[in-house]
């Protein structure tokens, strides 16, 4: 099947399809090579990377919930140096657009990471300011507009790559956050990160997760994500990468109609490792049935007040 209808351009990146994979759910892409044509994806947002290696949280890190799951991995990763030296050269032959998700405990750390990753083979940087599972600062950057802006400025000052800021849903006003990071120079926003949640084991009378709380993801969060994409689309002009509970092409269509220029698939990769390919096929069918020639024609169409650059 030709992907002509799905071909798009975002942040200067020519994408075969507007379907990406969300950070933390798809490793470095290579783990899914038996099931996915990685070059057909719009991009792979690789596992959150930090300056120093992190071992992540102790104890139970994942639990299934109704129509979703909670996780508290805690940003386990080998550190940016190992990523650059070992992982990036290893995944280069797959021909995918590698978007590196980065986390730091200070604006300077984001700047340093952005600079180190300003290398060939990296398509863009995604700033993770909203990991709910680490205690050292992440959550502050994600909930305070000025702190998030300082992270964007630090990254932008240190790289020529496009910079995407990943917005947290765990805020009172996501629109205020989106406007602030757009003003600070973010080239795009991605949303939503996981919703802070918790489960208690009624036999042991203890929290299930080792970190007590965790990030909720999966189909159950989709209505929240669609609502937030809709709200942000009315307030910013930078492109939006929509994510949160997408499990099918129908779900993805909702995000485009709400104002997303691209979507990312996360938790559904665990249920079905081929899901991104099924979503691409389903989007193709949907566009064909609707008589549309390109996915861009869908963006923001549910929203008369959509501001985005693709209209």
């Amino acid at each position: 099947m030709s992907d002509e209808r799905l071909r798009t351009e975002l942040l200067g990146i020519e994408m075969e399809t507007p379907v990406l994979t969300a950070s933390g759910t798809f490793g470095f892409g290579e783990e899914f090579a038996d099931f996915v044509d990685l070059a057909r994806l719009g991009g792979v947002m690789v596992k959150g990377t930090t300056l120093a290696p992190r071992r992540g949280n102790e104890g139970v890190r994942v639990t299934e919930t109704p129509m979703g799951m909670l996780n508290c991995i805690g940003l386990e990763n080998p550190g940016v140096e190992v990523f650059l030296k070992e992982i990036l050269p290893r995944i280069e032959p797959y021909g995918m657009h590698v978007i590196v998700n980065i986390s730091g405990s200070s604006a300077e750390a984001y700047g340093t990471l952005a600079k180190m990753l300003d290398v060939p083979g990296v398509a863009a940087i995604e700033l993770n300011v909203s990991c709910p599972n680490v205690k050292d600062g992440g959550i502050l950057f994600g909930t305070d507009p000025e702190a998030a802006s300082s992270v964007v400025r630090a990254a932008k000052a240190n790289t020529k790559k496009p910079v995407i800021l990943k917005l947290s849903p765990n805020v009172t006003d996501i629109v205020q956050m989106a406007k602030a990071v757009e003003a600070a120079g973010a080239d795009a926003v991605s949303l939503i990160n996981t919703l802070l949640g918790m489960e208690i084991d009624i036999h042991r009378w203890r929290p299930v997760l080792g970190n007590v709380t965790g990030g909720l993801s999966g189909a159950c969060v989709k209505p929240v994500a669609v609502r937030m994409v809709w709200q942000v689309a009315q307030a910013v002009r930078v492109p939006i990468i929509g994510m949160g509970g997408i499990t099918s092409a129908k779900d993805a269509v909702e995000f485009f109609l709400a104002g997303a220029s691209a979507v990312a698939v996360g938790t559904a990769n665990f249920t079905d490792p081929t899901v991104t390919m099924r979503i691409c096929d389903g989007l193709n069918d949907y566009l064909e049935q609707r008589g549309l020639s390109n996915i861009r024609e869908l963006v923001g169409k549910a929203n008369p007040d959509f501001l985005g650059e693709n209209t």
Binding site: G24, T25, R61, V62, T65, N269, D272
Partner: protein, 255 residues
Amino acid sequence: MTLPKKYEVTANVVQQQKLIETVYFLMVYAPAIAQAAEPGQFVQLRILRGAFTLRRPLGVAAIDRENGNIAFIYRVVGEGTRALAALQKDDSVNVLGPLGNGFSHDFVHPLVVGGGIGLSPLLYYAASLKGRADVLMGGRTEDELFWNTLFHGFVRNIFITTDDGSLGVRGFATDLLPTLLARYDYDGIVVCGPEVMMRGVAKLAQEHGTPCEVSLEARMACGLGACLSCSVDTRGGRRKVCKDGPVFSAAEVFS
């Protein structure tokens, strides 16, 4: 990129049989996976009825390559396994696998030690050795040791311990192990069961100077090494149970 290929297939149920209350034997038709699966590897089953976000990891208990079938033995512990147990012949289930690394091929006359559902991957391993292995199984009471019948014919000797002495020797598997190590000349020990059993066996194996492999269990989401739900500490740093394991050298993970 040189890793062996994994498959994701929707498979028909060939047989579903209750072995004892809460423990089931499930056989599905999945020829590609049956052809490829090595002893100690596992699959991730996606239960298509209901709305499960996560797959359920199950060790391979038996393979019938000729007919393209693969079998699992599992305990019903929650909603997922309850839904799995409700499947009947000709229902379908989605199978992702084979996953992880299996047991080493190095042992000629190993002792396999297991408890509970941990005996399930050991059954395939022991069967693959065509009577060269011995098995030591530990259970609470004789009710759990239906495994005895399953292993019969695949192993040289079957040794049994029960907590209450209702079958075999009274005590834990680790109580009988030193006697067996002294009496027989095993070139390796392979263990899968509760962590306390695996640690105990690993310690005795080390004291006796016998190489020991353990098959770890962990909560996991992707099964492919991507989500890092199942990370463990090893001598060589952080490793993933799903991708780098589930079989590890005991010295690597219990030190």
